[in-house]
């Protein structure tokens, strides 16, 4: 049964990679090749490139990346909750606050973390 749903997905994976590869191969057959040293230099405003690009580099946002991972996982919890939320909280014609309160506690704890990071200045691009 799963094959009916994910068969198209698997086929699409193969086909889209094949499309990219075939178009690159087609270009490989059609294009001229006339390489010389100056053409192979990387573009650096017309000057001779100075040093490598692969050097020590200050990745400014690694803490933001860590916070991102937290929030991304949190949304993974939110999605199943969101799907069943209205069914759970209005089951039997009454309003139940349990799903809302439970997720509320979880979000408050998470937002405390965000507030801490904000206060510490980790959200600044500096």
């Amino acid at each position: 049964m799963l094959a009916i749903y994910y068969g198209p997905v698997a086929t699409m994976v193969v086909l889209s990679v094949a499309f990219a590869v075939v178009s690159l191969a087609l270009a490989y057959l059609l294009r001229p090749v006339d390489m010389y040293e100056a053409k192979l230099l990387t573009y650096e405003c017309g000057l001779i490139p100075w040093g490598e690009a692969w050097s020590r580099f200050f990745v400014r946002y690694y803490i933001i990346a860590l916070i991102f991972v937290l929030f991304d996982i949190e949304v993974m919890f939110l999605i199943p909750w969101a799907v069943v939320y209205r069914k759970l909280s209005t089951a039997g014609g009454e309003i139940h606050l349990f799903p809302a309160v439970e997720m509320g506690i979880f979000l408050v704890i998470l937002l405390l973390g965000l507030a801490y990071a904000w206060r510490k200045g980790d959200l600044e691009w500096a």
């Binding site: 198209p8 490989y28 294009r31 053409k39 939320y85 959200l123």
Partner: protein, 359 residues
């Protein structure tokens, strides 16, 4: 049933009959249908990208008081076709000292990611050639693949061994991962009201009264809607958020060192992403394939035309924004996301979950 649906059903029945007569297992009908569907999607993406590039250039020209392409074909209609043919014949320059594998994989990965999203778009109320089954995890599927796009950008930027490319790619990575969170939360709001991840179900809920039953008119979804529009614009890197490219600062950002077909793949992917955002917005807030004049459609137009038309309106709106607003600075960009959009997304989640209790 629409003409396309009829043709699809008829072809399928025909093939099933033939395959039975030839004693080929029925699975191969499915496999053939998947392949045809995939090819249709790929052709559609190429066509859409060609049209959108032309439209973008024309719109940009009119907004800036120019005429735009007009030489190749009537009204310059074949300009982008010629561009594509030209790019196919261009030399492929891999700079000396670049990582050849990453440099080639970058555009392939970026393109692959952007095509996957088209699998879950409900073009019509029943199965079509391009979408034979309704994946019930629609929204999740879209998000999962859209978040992979950043890998293609990073591969291209790092693999080029160019300082501009690296800067563009790293900024792009920061931007794309940051804006993903408000986008996810905005979509969670819509999912919460719909009670389903399936784009098909979300469309079905908006078809009853035509225009009036669209999610667009529900005040509690206005905040998620605005958030989605802003963050989606950031995810596809259009101008107020085109930090990864930023022509006037970073030459061309992550694709500075790209030429020929690899460059064309990046561009193809970028424009099909643009249209995908239009499609998603149309499905989530503008009623998808349903006619604005009520259900059933009093005009008897094919349903996918409505969807494509609505998506085009969204895309044109994004283009208008693109040529109106200046680019954000990179620190402003991150501040906007983390200090304004993220808290706003949580507020909208609270609003929607309260409204969801009583509606």
């Amino acid at each position: 049933m629409s003409p396309i649906g009829l043709i699809a059903t008829w072809l399928r029945a025909l093939l099933t009959g033939w395959f039975r007569a030839w004693h080929i297992p029925a699975v191969f009908v499915d496999i053939l249908a998947w392949i045809v569907g995939g090819v249709v999607i790929l052709l559609m993406i190429t066509l859409i990208a060609l049209i959108l590039i032309y439209v973008l250039r024309k719109v940009a020209a009119y907004i800036q008081g120019r005429i735009g392409p007009e030489r190749v074909g009537p009204y310059g209609l074949f300009q982008t076709v010629m561009d594509a043919l030209k790019l196919l014949q261009k030399e492929d320059i891999v700079p000396a000292g670049a990582d050849k594998i990453l440099h080639t994989l970058g555009p392939v990965v970026f393109f692959f990611v952007c095509t996957m999203g088209y699998l879950v778009i409900p073009w019509e109320s029943q199965a079509t050639i391009a979408r034979q089954v309704d994946l019930n995890i629609g929204v999740l599927f879209l998000l999962a693949f859209s978040s992979l796009g950043v890998i293609g950008v990073l591969m291209g930027g790092w693999g080029s061994n160019n300082k501009w490319s690296l800067l563009g790619a790293l900024r792009g990575a920061a931007q794309m991962i940051s804006y993903e969170i408000p986008m996810l939360l905005a979509l969670v709001c819509v999912v919460l009201m719909a009670g389903s991840l399936s784009l098909e179900v979300i469309t079905e809920q908006q078809k009853a009264l035509g225009l009036l039953s669209w999610n667009l008119w529900k005040p509690w979804l206005w905040l998620p809607m605005i958030l989605f529009l802003i963050t989606a614009a950031a995810e596809i890197n259009v101008t107020p958020f085109d930090i990864p490219e930023a022509e006037s600062e970073l030459v061309a950002g992550y694709h500075t060192e790209y030429s020929g077909m690899k460059f064309a793949l990046y561009f193809l992917a970028e424009f099909s992403n643009n249209f995908l955002v239009g499609l998603i917005f149309a499905v989530l807030f503008l009623g998808g394939w349903s006619s604005p004049f009520g259900h059933p459609d009093p005009l008897y137009l094919p349903e996918f035309l409505w969807l494509v038309g609505k998506a085009m309106v969204v895309v044109l709106f994004l283009m208008w924004v693109r040529w109106t607003l200046p680019r954000l600075r990179v620190d402003q960009l991150m501040a906007l996301c983390w200090k304004l959009l993220l808290p706003a997304a949580f507020v909208s989640l609270v609003i929607v979950s309260i409204v969801g209790l009583y509606l």
